[in-house]
């Protein structure tokens, strides 16, 4: 088992979670104001997963993400300026405005892209893990995917291959109980996606995805195994998205009850974590607030950067198709 997180690690995780939350809330507002074109899938509610996993990774470890990818990129080190610029379709975005929210990525940070195709990530992460294994420098690949995505054949093929080759890889299923508007009970006859792991010959672990420390510890062990050549792990994090599938509305949705949302909000991963840090006397309310304030300032600066950035010139339309 991985050691308990040090104080520094805890503070680091807190910072990552707050960065995600703040970014997403502001992005949601901008979307409501019509400032972000296209579809926006927000990560609010699931922050403990990204933070708990990513705290174990360096820029040389790879992740694949989903349509709900901002949180993963932020936790992996993404900067607000080029992220907002990408969401706005500006030339200074991480993808020069060509990708947008659904394809936001940064190769230097080891982030192989959000993905508009549900389930496309796991096979790509198999390839990244294969590179890590071939290169032999102890790096690993993590693939994030949803409960809904676990029904795609691509997940199955990737899981089987990763276990077969004992790749340095972790499958992180963020089970938020819904694929779009379909509750889990209407898309699979199981409760724990982790139950699929034995069918590939890998361990399956269920963890409370609202508890950053629990995620941190389970991910640490999975990554230890991965890096040690013991093969992949399927780590299922039970979590919830506080907003709608697309956009920010959380309450009054037809496919879930407000009570269910309220119950999960009782276990808001950031509030839970701050209470714990306060109890452990690592971070008091004032210092927590300071983190929020600094982050909000940084987010605002990022938005300003993005708004001041130029749109891509139409002359670049056909660039970047080929090397």
């Amino acid at each position: 088992m991985t050691a308990q997180p040090t104080d520094d690690v805890l503070l680091d995780m807190h910072r990552r979670m707050v960065r995600i939350r703040t970014f997403e809330q502001e992005a949601g507002k901008l979307a409501e104001d019509g400032k972000i074109p296209g579809a926006l899938h927000l990560y609010v509610g699931q922050e403990a997963v990204a933070a708990g996993v990513m705290t174990h990774l360096s820029d040389r470890d790879w992740i694949t993400s989903t349509h709900r990818g901002h949180g993963h990129l932020i936790a992996k080190g993404g900067e607000f300026g080029p992220m907002f610029a990408e969401l706005f379709g500006r030339a200074t975005g991480y993808c020069k405005g060509k990708g947008g929210s659904m394809h936001i990525s940064n190769m230097d940070l080891g982030m192989l892209g959000a993905n508009g195709i549900v389930g496309a990530g796991p096979p790509i992460a198999v390839g990244a893990a294969f590179s890590c294994k071939t290169q032999g420098e102890g790096h690993a690949a993590v693939t994030f995917f949803g409960d809904g995505a676990s029904n795609e054949g691509s997940f199955h093929e990737a899981a089987n291959m990763a276990a077969l080759y004992r790749l340095p890889m972790v499958f992180v299923c963020e089970n938020n109980g819904y694929g779009e508007y379909t509750p889990q009970a209407n898309h699979q006859a199981i409760v724990d996606v982790a139950d699929r792991a034995p069918g590939y010959g890998m361990p399956g672990v269920v963890v409370d995805g609202m508890d950053a420390v629990a995620v941190y510890e389970a991910a640490g062990e999975a990554l230890r195994r991965a890096r040690a050549g013991e093969g992949p792990t399927l780590l299922e994090c039970k979590t919830y998205r506080f907003f709608d599938h697309v956009g920010v509305r959380g309450m009054g949705l037809s496919y879930r009850t407000d009570e269910e949302l309220a119950e999960w909000q009782q276990r808001d991963p950031i509030a839970l974590f701050e209470a714990r840090l306060a109890e452990l006397e690592i971070l008091d309310a004032d210092r927590a607030q300071a983190v929020h304030d600094e982050t909000l300032a940084a987010v605002r600066a990022g938005i300003e950067f993005a708004e001041a950035s130029p749109l891509p010139d139409p002359s670049v339309l056909l660039d970047d198709v080929y090397a």
């Binding site: 074109p37 296209g38 579809a39 379709g89 500006r90 993808c95 405005g97 060509k98 990708g99 947008g100 659904m102 394809h103 993905n115 508009g116 195709i117 549900v118 389930g119 809904g148 995505a149 029904n151 795609e152 054949g153 691509s154 694929g179 779009e180 508007y181 379909t182 209407n186 898309h187 699979q188 037809s254 496919y255 749109l311 891509p312 010139d313 139409p314 670049v316 339309l317 056909l318 198709v321």
Partner: protein, 337 residues
Amino acid sequence: MSQAQTAAQANETRELPYVAAINEAVRTVLTEQPNAFVAGEDVAGAGSVFGYYRGLLDEFGDGRVVDTPISEEGIVGLGVGAAATGLRPVIDIMFMDFMGECMDEIANQMAKMRYMFGGSASLPITVLTMSGAGMNMAAQHSQSLEVWLCHLPGLKVVMPSTPYDAKGLIISAARDDNPVFVALNKMSLRLKGPVPEESYEIPIGEANVVREGTNFTIVTYSRMVHESLKAAEELAADGIDVEVIDLRSLQPLDTDTVIASVKKTQRAAVVHEAVRFAGLGGEIAAQIQEHAFDYLDAPVARVGAPFSPVPFSPALEQSYVPNAAKIVAEVRALLGA
């Protein structure tokens, strides 16, 4: 304008948006055909992310409007197996871009089963899917991949441009004993037009001359019909009197209507939203010069998307997607005007 459509417009002034016409068509299918059912991701509880199945779950129950897991290959397989064994599935592939996840069941099973089985299997499947760019949905939610399907013997492919056509083509597709793809257009969901309340068919394989003209033919389909009509208005000022043909059905293709028009006008362009290179426009241009070579005063022009994935940024997507201005420019360039 076809006879049926003219008649319909005379008798019927009710206007519906494209999305409601789709809804009404599927409701008609489920009502008329006891063996029909709808299956796909978020089609039941949510009524589709585009809203076109709203109300159907309540009306027909969860045995006939079926939410599926996110499993496109499984969904199409469900359609193939159910059709071969006596049902009439209406299968929903949310975005046409997702066909990559189920091309085997489409290309190797659905399209070929009847033939491979020597004619003994019947595959009455309707597939509804969503195509097209223009909504800043980037490279994986904006494609027009109809040429993949048109190249596959055993499939039929239609792409309605109006609410009227959407309803009639879906009903025809569902009555057809072959697999028929109905590729819808997302920018057109709110487009309004006359739609009769009763059930009616639009014959699959018949093009619609939506504007008559004397000295130029534009062959097009789906949303580009509207852009072509706009272009025609503009070109009229140059003295170019454009006939606009809405193919409606790409497979089978109504070559006769296209050729008859070009023989009259002697000049033509094919316009589609799909990537120009290796798009269906090549097939149509090739057919035109095959069948009307001696009539042509100029090469057949083609307008399509340039050779890149669909970019996200509105600034780029605008230059990417064909529109009236680009059609006008292409026609003018062709005619040296």
